[in-house]
Amino acid sequence: MWTILQHSFTASETVEYPEQQPYLAPRYRGRIVLTRDPDGDERCVACNLCAAACPPDCIALQQGVREDGRWYPEFFRINFSRCIMCGMCEEACPTNAIQLTPDFEMCEYNRDSMVYEKEHLLISGTGKYHDYNFYRVSGLAINGKDKGQAQNEAQPIDVKSLLP
């Protein structure tokens, strides 16, 4: 009885949603986006790790290779009517491409509209992680970044040289 009485004097946690919007931290797990690297190019390299990590298997994509040598998703589909917003995909992603956002307001009358394709997912910014650019770190050569220009790489070896 006493406990209940006590509670009547504590401040209420409930807010008058939707008139009043609660504060959601950036790491809140809501609608998923695909982000771009600091140079403005698609971050996702279609490695398929997010899809493999996804518990309800609601991510499907197909890899392709662009003219400039980058791997990219030919299509990238998330079925949000299955997604449980667990954030495993974000955790699995080696390029910081896939990120969850604090937006959770994505109800639809029609389940079909819950299926998001790449054009719905891809945003124009870097999301939460501003600096990471996978191709600057890894050794795969692409147009504009040759062998030897990735992080911590020496210039390509001249295989014909016998010098130490």
Binding site: N48, C58, M114, G139, I142, E153
Partner: protein, 932 residues
């Protein structure tokens, strides 16, 4: 068997093994890179370190390499000891110093042995602060991708490519830590087995270029046990599919057939399954020649109506399954059923079957071929007609080396030591063909002869072995025959290889006689006859020697004997001269063609039915060694595509044919065929039937990590469809079931905890390198007829065709890429297919006044007219000079475009072509090595 102690536990192990083999066979996890079960040990990577203790009192021990240390009774080892663990971890760290950190964009990722081993040893952080070495990549052709930075210098690639497969254009180059594995300059890898680098390389240096273009990770592939349809060898494969497309073909281990390796035709040639020329709906030809799409039922009704009259002829196909051919033969009746060979080929394949069936010699599988210690090849260019056997012969010549090693009590896995010991000593391999072959570098003697002379040589060898008088032949030939006869007689396991490819029955008969003479002498010999296609032998077994030929059917068609012709999976224009096929098709009002892809025969049909390709259907194929093997659908065919047997069975049910009233499933057809056709009675043993369950459940086609199930079809409908059910096999189109310990014929993929790469195979083998736990796939239908040595040897009682001056015998020159119909349509292979050509030797070139690149016209003399003036042009082709061609022979590119009308072995006149445009030199594309 020696007993060794590993980490305090005693184990009984196989004598002669090394510690790594023993540990893996016991199911223990010991990391390794450079050792390969088929290639032995060289101790290059230092990854398999274990601690060996001198005796029970020794508590320090010393580090030894597991793969270089033989097991010995009482030896004490530790895999887990800190010393070994720490050492192995530091080795991975060292190997990874220059690793480019690009797993997400690496086609090996998810099935990478380096990833697996790194996780197994627990390495995590890179401590080295210096810069990473980098390399430029090379363009290695349309099949293989190169990303040199991922290399860990295990030397597996060069050991496979050079030592195992005899390639010369890939090597370890440069000095110290600049070491580079590639070609001396960019260009297409020349070995026909280069594709195996994809599986042999434990990292992502060599990957499958056809897969990288539209990549899918291993865990996302839906796979099924399948059989290569590239040639008659019947290698076992595991094709993988995603989103309705065949993505790649991997090797499926079969200890007796392909072992660990495929040829490039098999690995990259299945791309035709995705062709945009695929037929998706039944088509009915309209009067204006176009096709109108029909639904399945309407097409079936049309087919049934066409068959009602009973005057139906059928043409099967040596590339279609036993079951489809059996049903077609049942539908039309044996006397109206042509097996679908060309006129020249049909008696040859039938002969190949009867020779092997009645031979006292063993028909060897590939494993047995590898054990041969003297080999004679008559008339076959194996690398291009049965590639995997050429690879096996490269191993057979090493038996001499193993013999020498055994004398010194060296274990057979001491690869480097044995190669050093043997140097160029080889077991004898003799080849008599019409021109050079890709095996010439390992032969003791190769001689170019015309087919008739090959036969004469063969008969002489047989006579010498049997101790009978030799027919009169050329002295030089006789001396050769003596050398070969002595070598064969002196061997423990002599093998004679021949086949249909040079178009000569006497060559095969000569081969059979040699093996028979050997058997008579001491009852040991092997005889292997190569036939052209995946189910050629099965077709001969089905029809026997009395089946009508194509031209026999054509004649009867001209007499209006038939209302309807059903052609199953066969392009007749590849089987006979155009006029004959045109006439055949024109003389029968209803031509029903069941095939998977558009081709000229299909375009000439009145009703076209879409067949499922090998990757979408089940079927039994009989390989050249008489092994019946089952392939299972990898994925459900799209649209109205159905297996040929399904179309035929449905039609026969509509016709209420008595014999099929009890046939409902694929297995019922197999069983009916086995009970009706004596030679095929063993085919039910090829794989378990659809009732089989693996510990109560089916075998899954999808891995347990198969992703995207609830999204892959969501663009069509968000309501997920039910997983397709498979009523015809013990495999499931889902991830549910058990992929462990099932029969070898039901292995869709290999995976084991901690082992994501193809090296997980060792968890499926009874011991490393040995047959699968569930048994070897396939049922042998040809067994040697015990002791029945045929006395009445027909000697060389053949008369060679007399050539008129200005005529040459046409001998086929096969190409691994292009000679086979379907694989040549795979986009990656198509890049490597030449246009048709003739090969002539210098004598011929001089007499014609042509040089390389000129054109020649081939002309057939009109048999009716005995005049030189009346010759019909057969083909005009580009000239290649090949001075190894036998005297009097002209080679033509069999199976390539422009050579369809040439009949094997016929004499043709040649003439320099007028107005021939010399082709401009080919430019080989390069991507500068920077991309992908």
């Amino acid at each position: 068997m020696p007993v060794i102690q590993i980490d305090g536990q005693e184990y009984e192990v196989e004598a002669g093994q090394n510690v790594l083999q023993a540990a893996l066979s016991l199911g223990l996890d010991l990391p390794y890179f450079c050792w390969h079960p088929a290639m032995g040990s060289i101790g290059a990577c230092r990854q398999c370190a274990v601690v060996q203790y001198l005796n029970a009192d020794d508590d320090r021990g010393r580090i030894v390499m597991g793969c270089m240390t033989p097991v010995a009774d009482g030896a004490i080892f530790s895999l887990e000891g800190d010393k070994a663990r720490g050492f192995r971890e530091s080795i991975v760290e060292a190997l990874m110093l220059n690793h480019p950190h690009d797993c997400p964009v690496c086609a090996e990722g998810g099935e990478c042995h380096l990833q697996d081993m790194t996780v197994m040893v627990g390495h995590r952080d890179r401590h080295y602060r210096g810069k990473k070495n980098t390399h430029r990549n090379q363009y290695l052709g349309p099949l293989i991708n190169h990303e040199m930075n991922r290399c860990i210098t295990c030397y597996r690639c060069t050991r496979f490519y050079r030592d195992y497969a005899g390639g010369t254009d890939l090597a370890a180059m440069a000095a110290h830590d600049h070491i580079y594995f590639g070609r001396h300059e960019e260009g297409v890898l020349q070995s026909e087995f280069a594709g195996n680098l994809v599986e042999v390389c434990p990292t992502g240096v060599f990957t499958d270029k056809t897969l990288v273009k539209e990549y899918t990770r291993k865990w996302d592939l839906q796979s099924a046990p399948s059989v290569c349809t590239g040639c008659a060898v019947g290698c076992n494969t595991m094709p993988g599919e995603r989103y309705g497309k065949l993505k790649r073909v991997h090797n499926r281990f079969n200890a007796e057939v392909n072992g660990y390796f495929l040829c490039d035709r098999g690995r990259f040639g299945a791309g035709f399954v995705n062709s945009d020329k695929n037929l998706e709906f039944p088509g009915l030809r309209l009067t204006d020649g176009r096709f109108d799409a029909l639904d399945h039922h309407a097409a079936l009704m049309r087919m049934t109506t066409a068959c009602h009259s009973g005057k139906v002829a059928g043409i099967g196909s040596p590339r279609a399954s036993v079951e489809s051919n059996y049903l077609l033969r049942l539908l039309v009746g044996a006397k109206n059923f042509a097996p679908g060979f060309s006129d020249a080929e049909q008696p040859l394949v039938e002969l190949a079957f009867s020779l092997q069936q009645n031979s006292p010699a063993l028909t060897p599988d590939i494993q047995t071929i590898e054990s041969a210690d003297a080999v004679l090849v008559l008339g076959e260019d194996l690398t291009n007609t049965a590639p995997r056997i050429a690879l096996a012969l490269r191993q057979s010549v090493r038996n001499k080396a193993y013999e020498m090693a055994a004398e010194l009590r060296l274990q057979s896995w001491q690869d480097a030591a044995i190669r050093n010991l043997a140097q160029t000593m080889r077991s004898p391999l003799f080849i008599a063909t019409t021109a050079n072959t890709r095996l010439d570098d390992i032969t003791e003697d190769r001689v170019s002869l015309s087919p008739d002379n090959i036969a004469s040589l063969g008969f002489a060898i047989a006579s010498l072995i049997a101790g009978e008088p030799v027919d009169e032949i050329d002295q030089a030939l006789l001396r050769r025959a003596e050398v070969i006869a002595t070598a064969l007689r002196g061997a423990q396991r002599p093998l004679v290889l021949s086949g249909t490819s040079c178009g000569s029955a006497v060559v095969m008969q000569a081969a059979a006689q040699i093996s028979q003479a050997l058997c008579k002498a001491d009852n040991r010999s092997m005889l292997s006859l190569v036939v052209p296609e995946a189910n050629s032998l099965g077709q001969a077994m089905l029809t026997g020697a009395t089946a009508p030929t194509l031209s026999a059917l054509s004649k009867r068609a001209a007499a209006k004997e038939f209302d309807t012709l059903i052609v199953v999976e066969n392009d007749l224009y590849r089987r006979g001269p155009k006029e004959i096929v045109d006439a055949l098709l024109a003389n029968i009002p209803n031509v029903i063609v069941i095939d998977s892809m558009d081709n000229p025969t299909l375009s000439a049909s009145s009703l076209a039915l879409p067949a499922a390709s090998f990757a979408e259907s089940e079927g039994t194929l009989v390989s050249m060694e008489g092994r019946a093997q089952r392939h299972f659908p990898v994925f459900v065919p799209a649209h109205e595509r159905r297996s040929s047997w399904v179309w035929l069975l449905a039609c026969m049910k509509e016709l209420e044919i008595e014999e099929v009233s009890n046939l409902h499933h694929f297995d019922d057809v197999t069983r009916a065929c086995a009970s009706q056709i004596v030679a095929l009675s063993g085919i039910t043993g090829a794989a378990p039937d659809h009732h089989f369950r693996n510990v109560g459940v089916k075998v899954p086609r999808q891995t347990h990590r198969y992703s995207g199930r609830t999204a892959m079809h969501a663009n069509i409908s968000v309501h997920e469809p039910k997983q397709p059910t498979d009523e015809e096999s013990p495999l499931a189109f889902s991830m549910e079931g058990l992929n462990r310990s099932q029969p070898g014929s039901l292995l869709p993929y290999v995976w084991a905890p901690g082992w994501n790469s193809n090296q997980s195979l060792n968890k499926f083998q009874s011991e490393v390198g040995a047959p699968l736990k569930g048994g070897t796939a396939g049922a042998r239908l040809l067994l040697p007829t015990a002791g029945s040595v045929n006395r009445g040897m027909h000697k060389s009682n053949f008369t060679s065709a007399k050539l008129q001056s200005g005529q040459w015998i046409m001998v086929p020159r096969y190409r691994i890429f292009g000679s086979e119909e379907l694989s040549a349509k795979a986009p990656a292979i198509a890049e490597l297919v030449d246009s048709g050509f003739v090969e002539i030797n210098n004598v011929c070139a001089q007499s014609l006044g042509v040089i390389e690149g000129d054109g020649v016209e081939l002309q057939r003399a009109d048999p009716q007219v005995q005049s030189d003036m009346l010759k019909a042009p057969v083909a005009t082709l580009q000239v290649r000079i090949n001075d190894t061609l036998a005297e009097g022979c002209v080679g033509y590119s069999a199976g390539l475009s422009g050579t369809e009308d040439i009949i094997v072995g016929e004499p043709l006149a040649l003439q320099k072509a007028q107005g021939w445009q010399r082709p401009s030199p080919q430019i080989i594309g390069t991507d500068g090595g920077s991309n992908v």
